[in-house]
Structures are given as structure tokens and as C-alpha cells.
Symmetry: D2
Subunit: 408 residues, 4 copies
């Protein structure tokens, strides 16, 4: 791609220092018109201030897109993923991963709406996010061009960046209280990277965490909540119907209050190296546990096991940026097929980092029946049936043994 | 099988009321010689008293086998399973399941040593344990006979059992402090079933738990421990080498003290129904988390992902009683192949139910390197490589899109 | 179940000797009303004669159900299965397995329509079919009773059966030309078991095969056909639209003529033993190859690979009788999601047992583009992209190597 | 990498025109010493003539490596892969894929032996082979440099190549009888790409095939062979012990004679596009079928099913070039664990493209027993056991149905 080939570019613009530098750099280097796109996906910062900043950088008002995507984010991305009980590498709830395809989608849609031929983002050249943005964009528009400044420019140190900003009149005053860590936030989680975290043998400082209290500082009183599920999605909290974004917001508040959802891991990036990250996912941590609990009484055994077998692949697809791929959609079709009976309520106790299931019930879809599991007689289970069940399941071993095959 | 076909039977004998009744019943119904086998697998009760009870029931001294299997249990069953990070249905650490094959193995071996043609156990007719015992036995000796009294006799109520015991001079006085729940205990866990647990919407009473304190009653001070791993197994704690059973014993003590490892779930039994169970697995809960942590810096990404994909099947095999099956051994071969580099130490903080990883290190096998994941330049990663990586990974979408395939 | 509990039973009735004996035996032993169900699923025998036989055995005319299920069989069972490219144990096209759930379904439906409380079938006690019938029936009606005479009666030898038939006036004259093998036939295949086949080291006699010619006797001239696919199903042959049953009938004729689709294997039964079977699946063998061919140009790579990974499980589910299970439906949902683009035509050459793909094309969904795979330059693929693609895919090895991990 | 960084490069040198041009180009562009490596892996051409060509191009005699790797190729690469029954995308036997890691291994080893810091190959920039060579090389030596001339130079048309050759005195006279197709050959297969094959709707000309006769021209008489297996590998043919390479050579001769092993497919390349290829794999086609046959009587059912479930991933790993990866080794460990009982003989009839199994036997490991699958009584199988087996396998459906869940 030649620089002059780009006529108009849609930039994922946070309003912060880095993407402001990118904005300017795109104007200078590509001599092209820039459209800014700023989304509220629950990162907890005002998005409206990005408008003024964009205008100051010479963006035409009609080229400034500021949108509240919180409901779409939770409804169409977070909830479908939680139906899968997705966890990456046994630990990570995919908070950053799941937000990227939505941004990619809106970038491509805004490009179409504004006649832009290109999109750009501020993800660095060693991370997963560049992959997620760009694979998402290509999947939605095969002709889209992509500019990834971090892989292209020579502003590859903090000093050069600040010098460039200053030269171009971009405000570099550090926001008060801004974290020194590399962070990403949305309605599902906050992530932290960098600094002391670069030594996996070094625990994070307690003041790193922005959202949740430490379990040690959480209330001494536990709190019990009730979540109602419909087709695998949480729809009401303590008896009150909530929209998807409202639900996650409220579960975040509750989880954060009780020290729930902190995570400190070394994970494997798609681009090949290991990376240390810390995460806060208070509401998501509650949702995962509660969803498994409602599934435990409503989901058929083999449906549940099949879900568990498919899950790692599903999680990798989300982590690696393949949300819009045919294979993710195939897995989603299988998962969603299983969720039509996942209806009922779960009661959860929150206490100092613990998410404790204390009850699950389903008026309509309960497959648990006390009578069938006690040692007493019941109407559907003849204990003598176990003889044949065991005998035929063991038959291949019996035949092998009788044919002289030993087992050690 | 005709009753007269049985000449000599090895009974898994705990010394308790139920297996004492079985012992007597076998003598009466089958008119056969009975060999008792009592194992210490860490259930926390003396096994030696079973000798006297057996003798009182007429068992010949040379037919009484009392063994301490704790080291074998942890070394050859628990540890291999934890190399797999096995969890059944997203929650259960398989504490009961993993002990059964060992019992089956010794039953068959003792049968061979004593010239017995039959084995017997006290597992009920609706549970998983009967399957685990019997499939294990058949896998190890295809000609072995099995008597499962609970599926056969008509002592199918508590009253009939007690009457039978009384009539036969078996002590039915309730042991002081004995739990009213149906329990199973070994060095990995204690399980609880029955009573109020039969309503999955009813939380267990706090006095049910026998091993761990409640997180609410755990110390206000956290405790930090360091576990050293060798080839995927924990070998030293706080710098002190421990045998497998010593290691698990000590981790249990620590976990129990800090309210770690309580679990309350509805699970799917192999014989077809759902069942409510509560579990305490203090040491196992620490081990699972710590093992994932040491793997996170020492295991190759795709090896880790393959393990995650195979794990649900592995866990089901253990749960269903297929420890001695060729397919479990195939999976174990794959898992063990991956563990040769899983060496290093993990530091863990224990606090009121929380298992918090605060450090992981490996002098010999660390694959984490800070330089490769920062946004700075490094020697092995050229950020421009990401262009091609993304482009070719997206190529199938680009081609599809250019051929007119839309993505929604 | 007590015998007097059965009021009315629906019997899968072929009109042959065995099921006529069963019919009589049910009347005698269970003293119940019998409803007969005879289906044409393409077994190649008239079904109408079963009416007279049933009447002769005292069945009321309104209790005789004779149905042509060929279209439903192919449309709702065979075609969905072929979308999955299902093969059991690398060889078997599941011809018998796929017909059983349809029979189970109609048995249960007819039971409902006639007020019967029970169903019965003529499958033997060591085979897979009993499982498929009964699991199917229970899945569709949990209260249905099942009588499996072969597991119950004492007519366990050919002599006793014939004696019973003679005593009860059932015609035992051997049908002229009837195969001495144990056979099952439907529109998808014919299976053979028994006699010399019981020695897996003994090849079948050539006169065993009923449907296809030997490749050695097939025409010396090959024949080229063109199959059109829509959403993964074949819909037209040589330009002529055909219904599902017409399609399979015609492909059977063509395959049989050219010696296609004979198979001779040892397979693993669900009930635990190995079993030798021979199969003729002429049309199915063509369909499998042709379906893979149309998928090869229309299906996304990872969708295709995911299908391949799910296939063995899908095939086992069908083989084991779990057609109506939630897990089969989940897999089907995933598979069907992938088939919407599987449209186009395949040209196939048939020659002495060989199915040779000689062309595949799709006007609407072709993902193949010559330009992208030649060594020439093209618009979507920059060969330099391969540098980064390879480098990042190899990065985990490079890092491991630099950290001292050797690879042998 | 700067060009002056390369001191000495090991080139995979066939002696043909393309790699001769590369040799010269490396000398000119990189000003470095070139080591040539020419291997006989059964491609059917003399390798010794490459020596003189290399010398003519100025290579020092001590820098010329010509090796016969046929035994290592079959023993350590082909046979392990065939233990897995590996097939890529349902059709392709991975003939090219499996040879590349061996070449990569020797390139790296020769680099070490000669003090070279770089390897080079003649694979083009859009294919899979570049990936296989380079991932293999990096996996074995993380510091190795790689030069892939086709991705780097501007000789990107046939004309430029020829001009370059002529200018540099490289013989461009077309070898008589040389195929116009792009071919790759080794002891396992020959592949063809290009020309008319670039239209997937166009069948290959019959004179393209170099190895096998057409089924139409194969002998009218079939031929029966007997293959003996040991631990999953073929070790004797018609009673005569053969080394791995001898075995494959002889099976190729037999298969080719009988028109066996031609394949014409569209496959998905790892680098993202679809590609048409034709393949001849006569011996491999026989081996796959025969291996499945010997497994059918010696392998446990669930071991076989697990192998089938793992196979697609294994095949993709081989196809994509991950032979030396931890995950391929894990899968191989699982597969090899299963093969210790795969011993016995298979008789195969070869006839005009057909590979027909006509017998399988194992004196030591046969799990088939006629008695267990007939409808007669036997000692290990009580037909009444099927009642319980079916009932408990259906229990989850029965409970679901009784709880009101319908199944459609």
C-alpha cells in the first residue's frame, strides 16, 4: 500500500495522548482526511470530551463519531461468550478480547458510511489487539486498508512520542490519577500490563487495582444476590429485570465491593510470546460461576460435556480475534442450541473474593430430582440395571483380558 | 452367577456398620470365605481397629489385610491426575473418583494372593462408585466375580439394615460425632451427600464441613507458601522436600486453615441422574492453581492448549471409572510428555478461601522473557512481522469477501 | 415391568418369519393387543404383503400400519448425516444406524395415535440395534414400555424358533433366493453378518452381495455424472431435479452398476464386542466423495477442519443410537451452520469400484481463485507477508530455543 | 537481517534449474559461501549428478553433501504418521508435508557441522513448503538465519529466471520427458500442481501421472498380498521381512501397477488460499487401508475412537509444518501408546484402483471373538445385561421427558 492510496481513514480514537498523536501523524504522513470514532463500552471515562480534542486537531464535526455501545457490547458479544463458559488457558475471562471485534465492526461500518477506505488503531505491534482489530476488519470488508502506526512509525520510545506531541501542540500533561500501567478497560474488565508486572515472580502492588477492593478490605458481611437466567443469559437481579449492560454494571459494582474477580496470570499471546497480565473482572467472575450453576440443574449431561470439550477452542478463537469467523459461528450455533432450557435462578453469596453458590432452581427446566439419586428405590431407576450397565461397559476389558491382554 | 460359585471373596472393608453388615451377609448368603481389605488412603480414621472387628465377625487373621496406601495413592493416582489439571464439569476435582481404582487394584491383587475368586464392595446401586470399583476390577482381571450387595439384597432401608445388624450382633451404636451425611474421605477430599443437600436450592449447614474452616472464620492474616515443582509434580514446600503424601497432607492443613477448597455443586452421574454434592478439597484446590501457574511460564502455548482440549475427556474418564483403560493411558502419555519442562517454584498466598498466585519462577525452564512482550524493540521480534502474520491469517476472509461472501 | 402391565404394543413388523414369531409370542405371553408397523425405507421388498400376514395372525385392520417413509428417511436422516461427512471408525457409512431412529420415532408416534403403552422390535440381544431402537423410543416418550423378545424369551436357537412357528401355524417355508446371511437393507445400504463372516480372516463369497456387481464384473466403460448441491444436499443429477429418495435411489443404481461401495470391516459395537460386517453403500459412497468435493471449493478452511474434528463424535453418536440427543442436535446445528454456502456442482466418474472426482464448480460460492495460488504476483497476497507469518508462528520455538530448550 | 550478516549458507539443492539459479543468486547477492545438500528421499532421480553441477557452480567439494535418507524418511517420519491414520481434509495423505521436516533437520545439522549460520530453500512464497522448511529450522535452531529467495528476489517470472540462468551459464536445456507440471516426489508420493489443474473443474490429462497406471489400464487380474504389522508398522510383505524403505518401495510398485492411489483435490493451504493438487500415493493408500484393518481386530474401541478424534489435529500439524512441535509429540506419544498391540497380518487384494481387505489375523493380539457377537449364548455376555445398559444410557432422556422436556 502506498501512502497516497489512502484517501480517508477512520481512527479508533480514545481522546488520549497516544491516539491523539496517531491522529496527527495520520494527517501528516498520509495527508488524508481523518474520521474519529470514540465508543463508550463501559471503560468508565467520559467519551464526550473526545469531540473537542478531535476538533482541536482539525477534524470536521461530521467526521466525529461518538457512540454509546454498552448495550450492544454486552448483549451481542459478552453474553454469547458467557453462554460458552469461555475461559482462556484455565484462567482468563477474555475481557479485552471480546471488545475488539465490536470496535472493528463499527470502524468498518463508519468507513462505509463516510466513504473512507481505511481504518486505523492504536494497538502496538507485539500484542494481540492489533490482530483482533485487523482480522475483524478484513473479515467484514476484504477491501479495507489498515494503518497500524505502531508497526510503522519511528516513534518507538516514550521520549520520541512526547517530543512529537509537543511539537504538534498536543496536550501531554499527565492526567491526575492516571495509572502508570498499560491498561484496557470496558464493561467486562480492566487489564494491567507493564512495570513490575514484567517480572512474573513479582506480585502487583495493591494500589494498581482500580476497580475492586482487595479481598482483605472487602466487607466482613457477605451479601446474597439472586440472578435469573433466560436461555442462558442473566435477565434479572434480585427480582428486577435489567438490560444486559445494566446487569453487568450492577454485577461489577457488587463484585468489586466484595473483592471478587482479581486475576494475575502469565498468558500466551497469539503472536507467540508469553505475557504477564493482571485483570479485574468482578461481574464476569460472578456470571461464570452462576451460569455454570444454572446449567448444572437444567442442562443435559452430554450437552454440558460437549460444551466443555468445545470451550477451549471457542476461547482461543475469541482470544485470537476470530469472532467473525465461520468456525466461531459454528461453535456458537452449537452452544446456543444447548441454551434454550437454561432457565431459572441462582442464589450467590459474595464474600471477600469468594463467589459461593448457595442455591439454584428452575421452575420450568429442572432436571434434578431428589428421588433419582438417593439410595432408596424409585420409579425410574431399577438398581439391578446397574449390573448390565457395568458389565457391558466393562465388556471390552473383559474380552481383552480373556484374550490374554494384561493391564499394567 | 450362582451363589455357590463363589468360594472366597475379598471385601473392601472399612470397619464401619455398613461394610460389617455386608461382611456378615456375604458369609450367610454366599457361604463363602471372606477376606477383608482395609486401606488407609488418608480418610482420617484409624484403620487398625478394623482388624478386631473383622476377627469378631469370624475372619481368619491371615485373611485380614490392612494397608497404608497413602503414598501410592498420591504418587500414582492424584499427582498424574493433577498433571492434567483435571476438573469434572468445570468444578469438581474428582476426589472420590481417583481413589476407587486404587482400591479396585488392591482388591484384585489380594484376590490373586489369597486365591479368592470374587471381590465385593459397599457402594450403592445408584452411584458412580460401584461402576468405578467394578470396571477397575474387570479391567485388571477379566475372570473376577463381583458381588455388589446393595444391588442384590433386600435390606433396602435403614430400618432393615439395623435390624439385620442387631440380629447378627453387629454393633450399631452410632459413633459419637459421626456425620449424618453420606461421606467419603481420603487424602484428596471429603465429600458430602444426602439430607438437606437433596434440595439444590438449599445451602449446606455450616456444621456439615469437617475439614476446613469457613472462609468467614479463617485467619485475618494471609499466609504465603512456596511450592516447588518437578516434572509437573509438587516436590517441596517452603524449601523442604516432601513425599507425595506428606505434600498433600500439608497442603490440606494449610488450605483447611484458610477456608480453601469448599465446593457445592450439582453434578451428572455416569449412571444417568443429576446429584448434589459438597466437597472439601483444600490441598487439591491449591495444587490446581499452583500447577497452572508453573505451567504458565514453562509450558509451550500449544502444548498447554492441547492439554486444555483433552482435559474434559480425561476428567470424564476418571469420573466414570476408566482409569485402567487404554484411552486414559493414551491421554496420560500425551500429558506426561508435556510435563518434562514443568519445573520451578510458585508462591501462593492463602487468605479466607482465596488462592492467590503472587509469583512463579523457573531457573531451568522459564519461557517468559520480559523483553519479548514490551512495546520496545527486541532482538527476536520484528514488529513488521505482524503485518504478514495478520494478513495471511486473514487471507481466507479476504478471499471470501472478494468472492462476494458477506459476514453477518 | 409385569407382563400384565402391557395393554397394547406396537411392533416393528417386517412380515418375515422372525417378527411373525414375535407377533405371536407377544399375543401369547403378554395377552395384549398388537399393532403392527411396517415401513418401506427402501429395503427393496414389498411391504404390502405384511398386511395379509398380520391379518392372518389376528391383527385388526385398524391396527396395521404400512407406510412409505423413504422420502422422510433420506431427507431428515440420511442427508443431515451426510452433511457431516460421517464415517464410523474410518470406514462405515452408518447405513443401519441411521434408519433406526426413524423407526423408533414412528413406533412412538403410532403408540400415541393408537393408545398403545408399549413398543417392541426384533433386534437381538447382542447387537447395536436394540440400543438404537430403545434409546430412540425413551428419548421420545419417557413413559413408553419396551419389549425386546430376543432378550427375554427362551427361543434362543434356530430349532426352537422353527418349532414355535410350526406349532403356531406360521409359514416357515424359506423364501426362494433368501440370503443365508443376517441382512439389513434400506435405501442407504445392505449389511451382511454371520456365517463365514464370523472369521475376519475369511473373505466373503462373491455371491453374498445382493445389490452391486463386483468391480471385476462392472462395465469396462466408465460413466460420468454431475451432481448439484444446495446447502450441502444433493438436489439434481445430470441436470434433473430429484427428490431426496429419488436421488439416493438413482445414485444407488449407478453405484451398484459400477461396483461401487462394497465394504468389509471389523467394527466395534456399542455393547462392547467386535463384530465383522460387510456393507454395500453404492449411492452413499458416491455422495460422501462428492460432498467433500463440493465442500472443497465452497467451505472455509477452518469450518472444514472443525467439521473434521467433530465428525468422529457425531458418527459415534449416530452409531450408538443417540440421534435424538441434545449433543447430536448441537453438533448438527454447528454442521448445518457451515452448509449454507455449500452450493455448486460436482462431476464424478464411476469406474469399476472407483469414484473419481473430475470437476467441481460453484457459480455462487466458489472460494477457489487460481490467481491466489500460483507463484505469480496477485492483488491480495504479498509474498513478503509470508516472512512475518512464518516468523511469528515460529516465535514460540525460537524463544524456547533461545532459553535453552532443545528439540529432540 | 542484513545481507552481509550471512557468512555461510546451506542450500537444499536438487541440482535442477531452479535451485541452481538460487545457488548462483546466493553467491552473487549474499557474497557468502554456499554448502549444498542433496538428499535421496525416493524422488526417483539420481542425486549423484548434483555433485558435478555444484562443483561447476564453484562449490567446494567438502561443501557438497549428498545423502540417502530413504530409510530415515520412512522409519522416522512416514511410519509414525501412518500409525495415526493421518489424512488431511478427508483425502490427502500428506506426502509432501511429511518430507519437509526431515530436510529441515538435515539442513540445520549440516549448518552446525559446517559452521554455517544460514539455510536456504527453493520453496515459493505462496506455498506450504516454505512454512514447513522454516518452522522446522527455527524449531531446531532458534538462531538459524533463513533465506527464501522466492520471497526476496525480483526473478518473479519464468522469463527473468531463464535470462538470469543464461547470463550465469546455468544449463537451461529442458530435460527430456520432464513434466510441465509443478511436481514434488519422494518415496511416499508424487504431487502435481499448475497448468490445467488451476481450474478445479478441469480433470487432469491422463499423461500427467508419472508413477501409477490408470485403473483403466491396470491388469485385469487382481493380486493378493499379505502385510505383517508389528507395533503398528508394516514389517514384512508376503512373508518377507523388509526394511521401512524397502517396504514402501515395494508397496509403491504394487500399488502403481494396479492403478491405486491417485487423488485429485482442492485443499486449503496454511497460508490462506485454496489450491488444486493431484497426488499419487500408491503404497501409502495400501498402508492406510491395511493399518486400519489390523487395528480393527487388535485395538481397543475407545483407543481407536480417541485416535480418530485426535487425527484431524495431528494431520493439520503435519500439513502446517509443526512436526517438531511439543503438541505433535504429545499426540504421537498418545498414538504410539496405542500401537503396542497392533500386531498381526492383513491380506489385501489389489485391483484396478481398489484396495480390498480380504483378511486380517493376529496370533497374539486378536480382540475379535466370534462367540461374543453371534446371537447365541456365550460365556461373557448375558443378553439380559443389555436391559440395564440401555436403561441407564437412556436415563437422562427418561428423566428429562418425565420433567416435561420434549424432544423435537
Amino acid at each position: 500500500m502506498q501512502k497516497q492510496d489512502v484517501k480517508k481513514v477512520v481512527l479508533a480514537y480514545s481522546g488520549g495522548l497516544d491516539t491523539s498523536i496517531i491522529l496527527k501523524w495520520l494527517q501528516d504522513e498520509y495527508k488524508c482526511e481523518v474520521v474519529t470514532f470514540t465508543a463508550d463500552i463501559g471503560q468508565g471515562e467520559e467519551v464526550e470530551p473526545a469531540r473537542k480534542k478531535a476538533i482541536n486537531l482539525g477534524i470536521k464535526p461530521e467526521n466525529i463519531f461518538i457512540e454509546d455501545l454498552r448495550e450492544e457490547f454486552v448483549r451481542d458479544f459478552v453474553f454469547p461468550m458467557f453462554r460458552a463458559n469461555a475461559i482462556y488457558e484455565g484462567e482468563y475471562l477474555l475481557g479485552t478480547s471480546i471488545a475488539r471485534p465490536l470496535i472493528a465492526k463499527r470502524l468498518v461500518e463508519i468507513a462505509k458510511a463516510t466513504g473512507a477506505d481505511c481504518v486505523s488503531h492504536g494497538a502496538t505491534g507485539k500484542g494481540n489487539d492489533q490482530v483482533r482489530f485487523e482480522i475483524g476488519a478484513y473479515a467484514l470488508n476484504p477491501n479495507i486498508k489498515v494503518i497500524a502506526p505502531w508497526r510503522e512509525w519511528d516513534l518507538n520510545s516514550r521520549e520520541k512520542l512526547l517530543a512529537y506531541a509537543e511539537k504538534n501542540g498536543i496536550d501531554i500533561s499527565k492526567k491526575k490519577g492516571k495509572s502508570p500501567y498499560s491498561m484496557d478497560a470496558n464493561l467486562l474488565h480492566i487489564s494491567y500490563e507493564g512495570l513490575v508486572l514484567e517480572d512474573p515472580n513479582h506480585a502487583p502492588e495493591d494500589d494498581m487495582w482500580r476497580w475492586s477492593v482487595s479481598p482483605k478490605n472487602a466487607p466482613d458481611e457477605s451479601e446474597i444476590i439472586e440472578i435469573e437466567y433466560k436461555n442462558g443469559d442473566p435477565v434479572a437481579l434480585n427480582g428486577k429485570k435489567l438490560s444486559p449492560a445494566e446487569m453487568l454494571t450492577e454485577l461489577n459494582r457488587l463484585g468489586a465491593k466484595h473483592g471478587i474477580g482479581r486475576l494475575d496470570i502469565v498468558e500466551n499471546r497469539y503472536v507467540g510470546m508469553k505475557s504477564r497480565g493482571c485483570y479485574e473482572t468482578p461481574g464476569g467472575t460472578i456470571m461464570l460461576k452462576a451460569h455454570r450453576a444454572i446449567e448444572s440443574i437444567t442442562l443435559d449431561r452430554e450437552a454440558a460435556h460437549l460444551k466443555d470439550e468445545l470451550m477451549p477452542k471457542y476461547a482461543s478463537l475469541v482470544y485470537n480475534g476470530y469472532w467473525f469467523s465461520p468456525e466461531r459461528k459454528m461453535l456458537q450455533a452449537a452452544i446456543d442450541e444447548s441454551q434454550k432450557h437454561v432457565n431459572g435462578t441462582v442464589r450467590v453469596e459474595l464474600y471477600k473474593g469468594n463467589v459461593i453458590i448457595i442455591g439454584r432452581d428452575s421452575k420450568t427446566d429442572n432436571l434434578f430430582n431428589e428421588a433419582y439419586c438417593t439410595f432408596e428405590e424409585d420409579s425410574v431407576y431399577d438398581q439391578k440395571d446397574a449390573n448390565g450397565f457395568i458389565k457391558l461397559n466393562a465388556l471390552r476389558f473383559i474380552i481383552a483380558g480373556k484374550n490374554g491382554r494384561t493391564n499394567n
